[in-house]
Amino acid sequence: MGHGMRAEADDAALLRGVAAGDEQALTFLYDRHAAWMLARMSRRCSAPDIVDQALQDTFLAVWRQAGRYRGEGDVAAFIWGIGVRRLIDAIRRAGPARPVVQAGWRRAADHGLVRSAEEEVLLGIEHGSLSEALARLSPELRAAIQATVLDGLTCAEAGKLLGIPAGTVKSRCHRARIVLREALS
Amino acid sequence: MESVRAVRHETRTRAPLTGVAGGTGVRVEQLTRRYGRTLALDHVDLEVGPGITGLLGPNGAGKTTLLSILATVASPDCGRLSILGHDPDESSGRLAIRRSLGYLPQELGYHRHFRVAAFLDYVAILKEITDGRRRHAEIARVLAETGLEAVASKPIRTLSGGMRRRLGLAQALLGDPSLLVLDEPAAGLDPEQRLRFREMLSRLPTGRMVVLSTHQVDDVTAICSSVVVLLAGRARFSGTPGELAALAKGKVWAAATRDASAELSWRAGDGSWRHIGPEPPSGANLVTSTVEDGYLLLSGSAGGSDPSGTVGPRGAA
């Protein structure tokens, strides 16, 4: 397909190319975004074959749904929105027999890790008290917040991702919010 | 002419098949097949081991018949067969053979509408790869091995002849078979395509058996570790290409002009005349015999020499 899309074109242009049926544009999008997609998905699901499957499914879904992108929000968020849902599907298809362990966010205190100087700077500038507040949450509460806030999933979807009922997600988010509010006030 | 008669005598293969033995090779004993009144295969004895075996012979020698029997697509009239340790006469044996088989027929047809990946998908399903994920991975693997990734979504009818042959090889490679049966895989390709095809064949991972048929001797010289010469339905030689060349040792000479006492003579690339015959005339300058010379000697003694003197094996089209 000689659509003449250049590899350096910006995301929105590439996505328009994909919507027009340009396969090469999709491969350029893959080259640009697959790495962080893989890393991000791997933090939510520790089974590499499921993540591989979800990664392929994501870009196939982008191929089919590229026309739905209306220009609101950035393309990466659009792709991640598709990706996380493909990941949930892939987890579900793998069946309940596959234990999908979440690579949890580590707490420095648990693992004896010392914050690097760079982290100090980042957290000092950007997040200050928020990081302290987050550190107070238990891993389950943190995972629930991450799924609903960071990934933008509904309680039902978050439940499928974490392997817990939607009601549990909701109650955990609620508790997390209470803890955060206390910590930040 | 005793030495010619000696060559006419069939070169025996190794120990004949004693029964359907376990093992991983292909062993054929007294294979016979008729089509109407024509005897396509006449009591052929053969043994194939790992590596690339070339089946050399002119058109009509029975190569396609033999290969289709090895691929369990046809059955012999009589004779015994052991392919990969199984007997193709029993349906369980046939099934076991087909599970480890990759076949490229001489005329590979494609449904008109097929694109490359869809065709490979179809063949993969025929090979009982029912899991979608495994199929995708297999197709991606053979596309990479045959260098066809760039045309995966193109319709087959838009591909060139060389690419179609590669596609034929790709479908044979699906499922990672232990036995590859390729019927004239490089026929009709121009020299450059033929070279690339040969390269691709020799780059295949070793450990599997490949049997391919050809009527061009340089295919054999380039990639085959053993060669079988089939003439008029009989296996006239079986061994390494070096041994085939040795058959003509001491019987090939070059001269500035044609020599009437030779059985075969033709003009070589450097302008001299090359001759093959049982008795070099005294004073002739003997040259090292090549595989082609050995083959010509065999085929010449089979059905009379070809006075037109064209280079290459007799191709009775």
């Binding site: 991000r40 966010w105 957290l123 | 697509v73 025929l126 995966a152």
Partner: protein
């Protein structure tokens, strides 16, 4: 292969090739290796997708082989018919429909190669049926089938449909199995897939694909009564007969013979019993059932032919 130029995104900040102004490379590395604390990790994670400079750092840390492998599988899947718009939305829709009905994907893919199931063939069947029905409706009122069976006059327009109905599923048989129309027949023979299974699945699909529309079209005939159901057994008998004969001779002569047999039966019924409708009547149904059973027995006996393909 991977195009490194794609990593440079002309519109995003940091694309000039310099370092990222927000996140130092050490944090990206820390994120990948799972060494960061949650807040920092979330921060990097949220920032990463939009920053080419950080993506470049990331590229140095990820498993490139794994990415390449997935890329080549992705390209393969894009080329397959179920990918979407480029491959034809109709094909994908049909496949999903089949999956809903319980037909596994790989069986559907095998069947969709069968020429008899292709759109063009089905369109032809539809055309013929439309003509027959049209003739039946416009050829004048006349009495219905029930009265015709008991001796009443048969409307002339109905005759074409009555004769054609079992022939349409039959016509699919040689089209589906003729060696020249299945160019990859040798591959199917040399493959481990059971020749008998392939044959059965294809036959059932081909016959059903024509029989169902024919049967439904029968409802459009005036006074059709039980005709839609009465068609089934004659059609099955004729088709099964053709398939069984095809193990003895080639598919085309077999189908022609079976078709001729049917036409002879209808004409015979017309001449001997007064009305061709008798060929569909109760007693005849029993005969058709017997024919179908005999044909299936013959097929079972000759199953070895199915394994080696028609041409041998």
């Amino acid at each position: 292969m991977r195009d490194p130029a794609a990593m440079r995104d002309t519109a995003a900040p940091g694309s000039a090739g310099g370092a990222c102004p927000v996140i130092p490379p050490g944090l990206v590395t820390g994120y990948i290796r799972g060494l960061l604390e949650s807040a920092a990790a979330m921060s990097v994670e949220a920032h990463l997708p939009a920053c080419p400079a950080c993506r470049t750092v990331l590229a140095g840390e990820v498993d490139q082989t794994r990415l390449d492998r997935n890329r080549s599988v992705l390209v393969t899947r894009l080329a397959l018919p179920d990918a979407g718009p480029a491959g034809g939305g109709l094909a994908r829709l049909a496949e999903r429909l089949a999956a809903r009905c319980g037909v596994p994907v790989h069986v559907w893919r095998l069947l969709s190669v069968t020429p008899a199931l292709r759109r063009s063939w089905l369109a032809g069947v539809g055309l013929v049926l439309g003509t027959a029905i049209g003739a039946a409706r416009f050829a004048g009122p006349g009495t219905g089938l029930a009265t015709a069976a008991s001796g009443g006059a048969l409307p002339a327009g109905m005759l074409p449909f009555l004769i054609l109905a079992p022939l349409l599923p039959l016509a699919g048989v040689p089209v589906a199995f003729h060696p020249r129309l299945d160019p990859a027949a040798d591959l199917a023979t040399a493959a481990p897939v059971s020749g008998v299974w392939l044959f059965c699945v294809r036959s059932v699909a081909v016959i059903a694909a024509a029989l169902v529309p024919t049967s439904l079209a029968a409802f459009a005939l005036p006074g059709s009564g039980w005709l839609p159901l009465l068609i089934v057994l004659p059609a099955l008998a004729v088709s099964a007969g053709a398939l069984a004969l095809a193990t003895l001779v080639r598919p085309l002569p077999a189908a022609l013979s079976a078709g001729a047999g049917w036409v002879a039966a209808v004409c015979g019924a017309g001449l001997l019993a007064g009305s061709p409708v008798v060929a569909y009547a109760g007693a005849a149904q029993a005969a058709w059932f017997a024919v179908a059973v005999i044909a299936c027995c013959l097929l079972a006996v000759r199953h070895r032919v199915l394994e080696f393909g028609w041409s041998r």
